[in-house]
Amino acid sequence: MAKMTLEELRKLRNQKKDELDKRDTEGKDVHIIIGMGTCGIAAGAKDSLDAFLDEIEKNKIDNVTVKQTGCMGLCYVEPTVEVKVPEMPDTIYGNVDAETARNIVREHVLGKKLVSEHVFDRPSKDIVKE
């Protein structure tokens, strides 16, 4: 990517915003976002990540992207994962070990049901969106 001008930056921002709103990036409409701060990694987020990828592969699901993000601040329930599935509420899961990760793929992504005992609340509203 070459250096941008002001116009190019604005264009890029709008384009990326649209993508975010549509939630559809390159045909993938399910998003699994794993908290990968030091705290999450220490709590086993890498194992969870592996389990997600493996379970997705096993079930031959091709509309899922798995991404990383920073820490959500829910240290007492790390690793934390946000799951976005069309027509389902965006959901934050806590204490997502490898087994739970597999359950999330099977029950939430495929079964369109929440995984009980692991649902948590996003701690605040999003001021950027306001």
Binding site: K16, G70, K125
Partner: protein
């Protein structure tokens, strides 16, 4: 057929104890009874952090937020929310100030239950920190854009002034003044420095911010560079934060590629670039002059102020130095305006503060709340209360520089000046919750030991004082303290406050002076009665066997590592106090409650 509704029942400790389980079961039977079990999934969740209004039930996708729910409400929730698709108005939470709950209900109000407001942590958990595009998509670098093309340096300073932003790292110095000092000095070179040498025990908000949103700090520092006329930013970060360092490096690289750093940013003619310097993790290097000396390659020892870094900083050049949290606020202030920022928080402390909530608390974690939020809200709502139903004793804020906040201050709005007024300080934002099992002398000793270790050794009041204070606490914890010692704690503490060279030494006595003020009785108990009520001071604990309860099972004598418990089988045992090392193994092993701790 897909599920249409989700009913979330709070399974947090507090809600659980107030019948969340019964509600869960009642809802389950109701969906079956009303025949909608195929359309609804009932889920148990983690704590919503609104415990005073628990138990809580939330219905999705409508986001209906029901508070103080009872099992008897289950029927109505299902019939109204699920079957008829209407909210149960009487259960909905609305802001207390809004009295017109029933009749004039506004859907917008239901979101207000959350006590956290995330400005600093706005992107943490939203974006992939290793992808600059995701930051840009969330208005990243829009503030820089605005500053470079629509604002003069004076406009920026003014916006900061209006915002009332104060430095988040320690004493809360107004940020605009720092910038303005540096801006006003003529110099061939100026520097912008980020203090990421977070060192308080239990504090990790800066690490999380850098790991989750590195660009916000880069953007803010670039804005500062434009404002004061600096072209070079230095991020001083402790080497123990490898992930944060990696993400910063990636962020800098990506920003350079996009031309958001380097020469002639976005064609504005302004150039700025970064360097990352790793610190070895010495606590004193969080003190700004020591930090600058460390960047220069010298021993991390503070130098007297004045001269202040704003005028004579890195390599003797004017330098703006702020910590991570302060920086992370800046882009939002530029984008949403100083007025907006100033509307959050209290009169003299605007905006939010990130705390690392740890200790005997159910929901430990990072919380960001508006200044002025009370301790009660943080501990009991967001934090979900004290672990294992124990009694709240105090909260330690400000780490080794701070003090304790007791029961009496649960409803004190927390901001810079309030904390200082009650003998603590904001510090970087560590917040450690203590319960009845914590001994206040033990807590003070912990912080003092930290200060002994972390004193740089340059100035006598701190170098000698920290150790003297520790030795006295140690004596007291062993039951050897005297009233003269208590007096000496204050004498030395006061001398350090006035005569220590830097903030570390000046504030090191705070944990002691503050506990001495609010828990004098506990100090006196240790000194006069040789008693530690929390049972933390080993030398003051005594284990005894109640011959009435002891059945002579011999388990305790087998567990005792020094073999000081004797007795015949099936006969009451006894402990040889002269040999006992107070390890508590017998106490833990006895199934009959025959061993008493006093």
């Amino acid at each position: 057929m897909a599920v249409k509704n989700f009913i979330l029942v709070c399974g947090g400790t507090a809600c659980e104890s107030s019948k969340a389980n019964d509600i869960f079961n009642a809802l389950k039977s109701e969906v079956e009874a009303q025949g909608v079990d195929k359309d609804v999934q009932i889920v148990k969740t983690g704590c919503f952090g609104f415990c005073e209004k628990g138990p809580i039930v939330k219905v999705l996708p409508e986001e209906a937020f029901y508070v103080e729910v009872t099992p008897e409400d289950a029927k109505e929730i299902i019939s109204e929310s699920i079957v008829k698709g209407r909210m149960v108005k009487r259960l909905l939470y609305v802001d207390d100030t809004d009295k017109k709950k029933e009749d004039d209900f506004d859907i917008e109000n239901i979101k207000f239950y959350q006590k956290q407001v995330r400005i600093v942590l706005r992107n943490c958990g939203f974006i992939d920190p290793e992808k600059i595009e995701e930051y840009i998509a969330r208005d990243g670098y829009a503030a820089l854009e605005k500053v470079l093309f629509d604002m003069s340096p004076d406009d920026v300073i003014n916006e900061l002034k209006v915002s009332g932003l104060r430095g988040r790292g320690g004493a809360g110095f107004p940020t605009w003044m720092k910038w303005n000092f540096t801006k006003g000095v003529e110099s061939d070179q100026k520097f912008i420095v980020c203090n990421a040498d977070e060192g308080d025990p239990g504090a990790y908000m800066d690490r999380s911010t850098l790991e989750g949103d590195p660009h916000s700090v880069l953007e803010a520092m670039t804005i500062a560079g434009y404002t004061v006329g600096a072209n070079k930013g230095v991020i001083y970060i402790r080497a123990e934060y490898p992930l944060a360092i990696k993400r910063l490096e990636i962020a800098i690289e990506q920003a350079r590629e996009y031309g958001l750093l380097g020469e002639d940013i976005l064609g504005s003619g302004f150039s700025f670039d970064f360097e990352i310097r790793l610190g070895a993790g010495a606590f004193v290097c969080g003190e700004e002059t020591a930090l600058l000396r460390s960047i220069e390659g010298n021993r991390g020892m503070p130098t007297p102020k004045p001269p202040f870094p704003a005028v004579e900083g890195l390599w003797g050049k004017p330098t703006v130095i702020n910590n991570v949290e302060t920086w992370a606020n800046v882009p939002m202030i530029i984008l949403k305006g100083g007025k907006w920022f100033n509307s959050i928080g209290t009169e003299k402390s605007s905006g939010t503060k990130v705390f690392a909530l740890t200790g005997k608390i159910n929901n430990s974690g990072l919380v960001e709340v508006p200044m002025g939020t009370t301790l009660r809200e943080i501990v009991f709502d967001i934090g979900g209360g004290i672990k294992d139903g124990k009694k709240f004793k105090a909260v330690q804020t400000g780490g080794p520089s701070g003090g304790v906040l007791t029961n009496d201050f649960l409803d004190t709005p927390i901001d810079f000046d309030q904390l200082t007024a009650i003998g603590s300080m904001m510090g970087s934002g560590g917040m450690i919750v203590m319960d009845e099992d914590d001994c206040i002398i033990d807590v003070a000793k912990f912080y003092q030991e930290f200060c002994v270790e972390e004193s740089c050794g340059k100035c006598a009041p701190c170098r000698i004082g920290t150790r003297k204070l520790y030795d006295i606490l140690d004596k007291i914890s062993k039951g050897k303290g005297t009233h003269k010692d208590l007096e000496n704690l204050e004498t030395i503490g006061n001398a350090m406050k006035k005569a220590a060279l830097c903030g570390l030494g000046q504030t090191a006595p705070n944990p002691i002076l503050s506990t001495l003020k609010y828990f004098k009785d506990e100090y006196l108990e240790h000194v006069d009665d040789k008693v530690c009520r929390a049972g933390k001071c080993k030398d003051l604990v005594r284990f005894e066997i109640d011959p009435e309860k002891c059945i002579g099972c011999t388990v305790c004598s087998r567990k005792c590592p020094v073999g000081c418990i004797s007795g015949e089988r099936k006969q009451p045992h006894s402990i040889d106090q002269s040999q006992c090392v107070k390890c508590g193994a017998c106490y833990a092993a006895c199934k009959f409650g025959a061993i008493k701790k006093s």
